[in-house]
């Protein structure tokens, strides 16, 4: 197992380096473009050249790349062009906000998805199964912006229970989180739920479930101890991948509810070519993607003793 972890982590670092290179090439490949976005559209050619020389952008690209990697590792993410402040000062705050939103959504979503998936899968073809399946397919096919509007219409304008924006102007407020979490969960849970259902249904046809039944174990015990663990092996990887999806889904939702998160920051930076912010956001996104994938793989191996003890 420890060998596997080492191999996986090594792999993860390698992927990070490659993706970082791509990110770097795209954003900082052409020094003139950087100089232009820093100095503005009216800067003269000499000014650009001077800036390039001054900031070391005339060095070969690979040197600059490793230099950049070194700086990122030492915690220096550069300065934001728009805010004229170090990226560090804005970035972590926003990432933290998104982390809260994504974290809460993730927990809610996994709990809802697994519960519904297991309920549907343990009695394949029953009324309970059909209702859950139809519901999860329907919700997945409604995009976030539509459900954002729909839910806002119901809970904000119709019932008046929840605030319409989540800008958190008066400090952190849980109530403002509810709508975004609902939107994200509604859109995202269906996939995991269907996966869990299929996996559960498959497990229920196994001979060892029959053994458990004929041992006279109570149904609950069979589901919880014998079926669940095996049924969760397959959805586990999907759940981890879901975190990536959450990051992209978050962009739209944050925008819709004016939530000051990482997604809104990325959107803004991309629209205004705020290079170092884009790079920071990109690195963060890739890290989350690769990291969750690694955890997914390791978790899969851990859950499945047939692989674990090869």
């Amino acid at each position: 197992m420890s060998q596997l972890i080492l191999r996986r982590v090594g792999m993860m670092i390698l992927i990070m380096l490659v993706v970082a290179l791509l990110l770097f090439l795209m954003n900082e490949g052409d020094p003139r473009l950087i100089a232009r976005s820093v100095l503005g559209p009216y800067a003269q050619d000499q000014q650009l050249d001077a800036w390039i020389a001054q900031h070391g952008y005339d060095r070969p690209i690979m040197v600059r790349y490793f230099d950049w990697i070194g700086r990122v590792l030492s915690g220096d993410l550069g300065d934001s062009i728009i805010y004229k402040r170090p990226v560090n000062e804005i970035f972590w705050d926003r990432l933290g906000n998104t982390g809260i939103l994504a974290g809460v959504t993730f927990v809610v979503m996994v709990v809802v998805a697994l519960t519904l998936g297991v309920l549907a899968g343990m009695k394949e073809g029953s009324a309970q199964d059909r209702v859950i399946s139809v519901f999860s397919i329907t919700t997945t096919s409604i995009p976030e912006y539509a459900s954002a509007v729909l839910l806002a219409w119901i809970f904000v304008f119709g019932l008046g229970w929840l605030p319409g924006t989540s800008a958190m102007t008066g400090g952190f407020n849980v109530v403002e989180l509810i709508l975004p979490v609902m939107v994200l969960t509604l859109y995202g849970f269906g996939y995991v739920a269907r996966m869990t259902r299929a996996s559960m249904a498959e497990v229920m046809t196994n001979h060892y479930i029959r053994t458990a039944m004929l041992k006279g174990l109570p149904y609950r015990h069979i589901i919880m101890k014998h079926a669940l663990r095996n049924a969760l092996i397959a959805p586990f990887t999907v759940i981890m991948l879901q975190i990536n999806w959450l990051l992209s889904g978050v962009v739209v939702t944050e925008f819709a509810f004016g939530y000051k998160g990482f997604g809104a920051l990325l959107l803004e930076a991309a629209l205004r070519r705020d290079i170092f912010v884009i790079e920071a956001c990109g690195l963060a996104a890739v890290f989350v993607a690769v990291f969750t994938q690694t955890i997914g793989d390791l978790g899969y191996t851990y859950l499945n003793p047939r692989i674990r003890f090869k």
Partner: protein, 712 residues
């Protein structure tokens, strides 16, 4: 073992199980499938009852019905299942649950599938007493530990922390047995409990079940298609046909005087020791079991019965009748004519055949070795540098086979039979030595580099026809392709003609050419496999367990078919099997293998009589024989087959040998001793001493055609 203590519950004590008029059905889109009709059965305390019959006759359905576990689409339609006086059909779900696993337990065919792969063995055992008897965790652990010791598992502590896939098949089955016996059930249902196991392992398990159930007075319902096994383990036996019991009675009575033509037919299908492929060939039952919703009127066995009488057998449903014999007051049969039929007279019309004369040597295997390299990826192995280990799958294999001869290769799983077949077929190449077919060494030529003639001259019939037939092509296409590839014919009309001829040869209707494999039964698929193997007029055919996946009656038909074709084409047949009964019947010469090495080699008569190699001796004893008059010496081997990765240093059999002479067996490879021209035994025990060994099987003299008097 067959003490008749539970004679038809006539001794006052209420039976443990009393089933009467039971009807079980499945509901499918095609309508109701009445799988079991009007089924009666009583089992007394401590009694062991066998249920035999062809695949699909409803044996498992009965077992599941008793447990009231019929799946989503099945149910009890009529009748009663009284367990300890209470009707299972009328119990609530909760009551049934309490009976399951506590009072009635079940053991199944596939131990690996029956155990949960992601829970430790300890967890799976301990939950039984914890739930049924609400004992503490320590107590449950102790009971699980004790039970594992009781099923003779050498190191229970270590095993309990293991996951199912970490232990061998025999041990898994012991775990399943331990699990079933943990709560000392009153009734144990066993559905083909040993079919998936090796014969020597099976012998141990069978003995274990008998020992433990006797100790705790547990009644057994033993389901199997193996009549020989039934004879060893049961007091009474029920023969099932198409959802109902057609004959029942005490073991001795049924085996000595089977009355129903079907029961008779079953006995005619199994290669008993006195069967002879030339003088007394097997007699397959014609036709097939009808589907449950297509049963004929009157006697369900009618269409397959030699004694069928129009007007009598096809009018009313046949009731059970008592058979009065001096030995048995419980023998009953469902046949109108049981009293009229003289089975011995019927037997005289059987065919006999002339023996095939063995021709020149066709196949020579000379000191063939096949080693596999296995990479180890543990840290320890990488550090010590020994990360590649050798598995000696075949070690110095030598023998030859003549034209028209049948040579059997016998051994249990892991003995290297299949590796040998692979080398022959060119799927692997030999590490050393030669395999010559008609003088050319094929052992080093891969299948891709063989010429069409070489390919055609050596063909194979596989154990499981499903694995080798392409589900998406028709039968005709698949046979035709082989004909074309071997360059036998190229003209489509000629190919077609040859396909038809081959279908005739394997006794399949010609219109099967358009069928897909899924439209065929197991036996029919195996016939297609045989047709395909013979498509290129092979000189040699390797048959790797060709009948072990088939029902007795189908197996008999396929065996006879194989021999007929062999006779006609003078084919050399290499018959790979673990079943010594079939081998004794079929083979001219036998090679006995264990862990990749030849233990004994000789003609069939030589191998089946002393001097035996100790392993052959144990193997012979392990094979159940369905003849009460055959006397057998019991030898039960301890332990499991060693891992081929880590074989014993000296004699490969030394870890289990019942005659081990001492440390010499552990340390030195045994010498090959010759007894006569071609009979060799690899053992440290001198031949003279081995000659003194008593025969394992004693067959009574059957020269008189009349049935011998039964043993009381």
């Amino acid at each position: 073992m067959a003490d008749h203590n539970g004679k038809d519950n006539g001794n006052g004590e209420a039976p443990v199980l009393d089933i009467s008029g039971l009807r079980l059905s499945y509901y499918t889109r095609a309508g109701e499938i009445p799988a079991v009709m009007d089924f009666d059965l009583t089992i007394a305390k401590g009694e062991s009852v066998g249920l035999v019959g062809e695949s699909g006759c409803g044996k498992s359905t009965v077992a599941n019905g008793i447990m009231r576990y019929m799946g989503k689409n099945g149910g009890i339609v009529g009748g009663t299942i009284k367990f300890q006086g209470r009707d299972m059909a009328e119990m609530s779900e909760e009551e049934v649950r309490r009976v399951r696993g506590k009072d009635i337990a079940m053991i199944y065919q596939e131990p690996m599938a029956a155990l949960n792969p992601s829970l430790t063995i300890a967890a799976q055992l301990m939950e039984v007493p914890m739930i049924h008897e609400e004992v503490s965790e320590e107590e449950a652990f102790q009971r699980a530990y004790d039970m594992l010791s009781a099923v003779h598992i050498p190191d229970p502590k270590r095993l309990m922390d293991s996951y199912p896939h970490q232990v061998s098949g025999g041990q898994q089955q012991r775990v399943v047995i331990a699990m079933a016996l943990l709560s000392r059930p009153a009734l144990l249902l066993l559905d083909e409990p040993t079919t998936a196991l090796d014969v020597t392992v099976e012998a141990g398990i069978v003995e274990l079940i008998a020992e433990l159930s006797k100790e705790s007075g547990t009644s057994l319902l033993y389901i199997s298609h193996n009549l020989g096994l039934m004879l060893e383990v049961c007091d009474r036996i029920c023969v099932m046909y198409s959802g109902e019991v057609v004959e029942e009675g005490h073991i001795s009575s049924i085996f000595s005087w089977p009355k129903h033509p079907y029961t008779h037919g079953l006995f005619g299908c199994i290669p008993l020791p006195h069967a002879d492929k030339n003088a007394r060939p097997l007699n397959a039952i014609k036709g097939q079991l009808p589907l449950p919703h297509q049963r004929p009127k009157g006697c369900y066995f009618g269409p397959r019965c030699e004694f069928f009488q129009t007007g009598r057998c096809d009018s009313d449903h046949i009731p059970m009748e008592e058979v009065f014999t001096d030995d048995d007051d419980a023998h009953r049969v469902r046949c109108l004519r049981w009293n009229e039929i003289d089975h011995d007279e019927a037997r005289t019309v059987e065919t006999t055949r002339d023996p095939i004369e063995v021709g020149d040597t066709v196949l020579e295997v000379d000191n063939m070795r096949k080693y596999y390299e296995v990479k180890e990826s543990t840290l320890a192995a990488m550090v010590s540098g020994g990360s590649v280990r050798q598995v000696k799958a075949n070690e110095s294999i030598s023998f030859d086979a003549g034209e028209g001869e049948t040579v059997a290769i016998v051994g249990e799983s892991g003995c290297g039979k299949s590796t040998f077949a692979k080398v022959l077929m060119g799927l692997e190449t030999a590490t050393e030595g030669e395999v010559r077919l008609d003088g050319t060494d094929l052992g080093s030529i891969e299948v891709k580099k063989r010429t069409p003639e070489q390919l055609a001259s050596l063909q194979m019939v596989f154990q499981n026809p499903n694995d080798t037939l392409n589900p998406s092509h028709s039968i005709g296409y698949q046979i035709g392709r082989v004909i074309k590839r071997f360059g036998i014919e190229s003209d489509p009309a000629k190919i077609q003609e040859r396909v038809h001829k081959l279908l005739d040869t394997v006794k399949l209707p010609r219109d099967f050419v358009n069928r897909k494999p899924r439209q065929l039964s197991g036996g029919q698929k195996q016939r297609v496999g045989i047709a395909r193997a013979f498509a290129g007029n092979p000189k040699t055919v390797i048959a790797d367990e060709p009948i072990s996946a088939l029902d007795v009656s189908v197996a008999a038909a396929v065996t006879e078919l194989l021999m007929d074709i062999q006779r006609e084409h003078r084919t050399t047949l290499l018959f790979i099997s673990h079943d010594l009964s079939a081998v004794r019947y079929l083979a001219d010469r036998i090679v006995v293998m264990y862990l990749g090495q030849i233990m004994e080699r000789g003609t069939t008569d030589e191998v089946f009589a002393p001097p035996y190699h100790p392993y052959t001796e144990a193997l012979l004893s392990a094979v159940p024989i369905a003849d009460p008059e055959v006397e057998k010496r019991r030898i039960v081997l301890e332990g499991n087959l060693p891992s081929p990765l880590d074989p014993p240093k000296g004699c490969p059999f030394s870890t289990r040998c019942q005659r081990k002479v001492g440390s010499i067996c552990d340390d030195e490879p045994p010498p090959v001793q010759l007894d006569g021209d071609d009979h060799s035994i690899a053992c440290h025990i001198p031949l003279d001493e081995l000659r003194e060994v008593e025969p394992v099987i004693t067959i009574p003299d059957r020269d008189l055609e009349a049935p011998a008097a039964p043993q009381a």
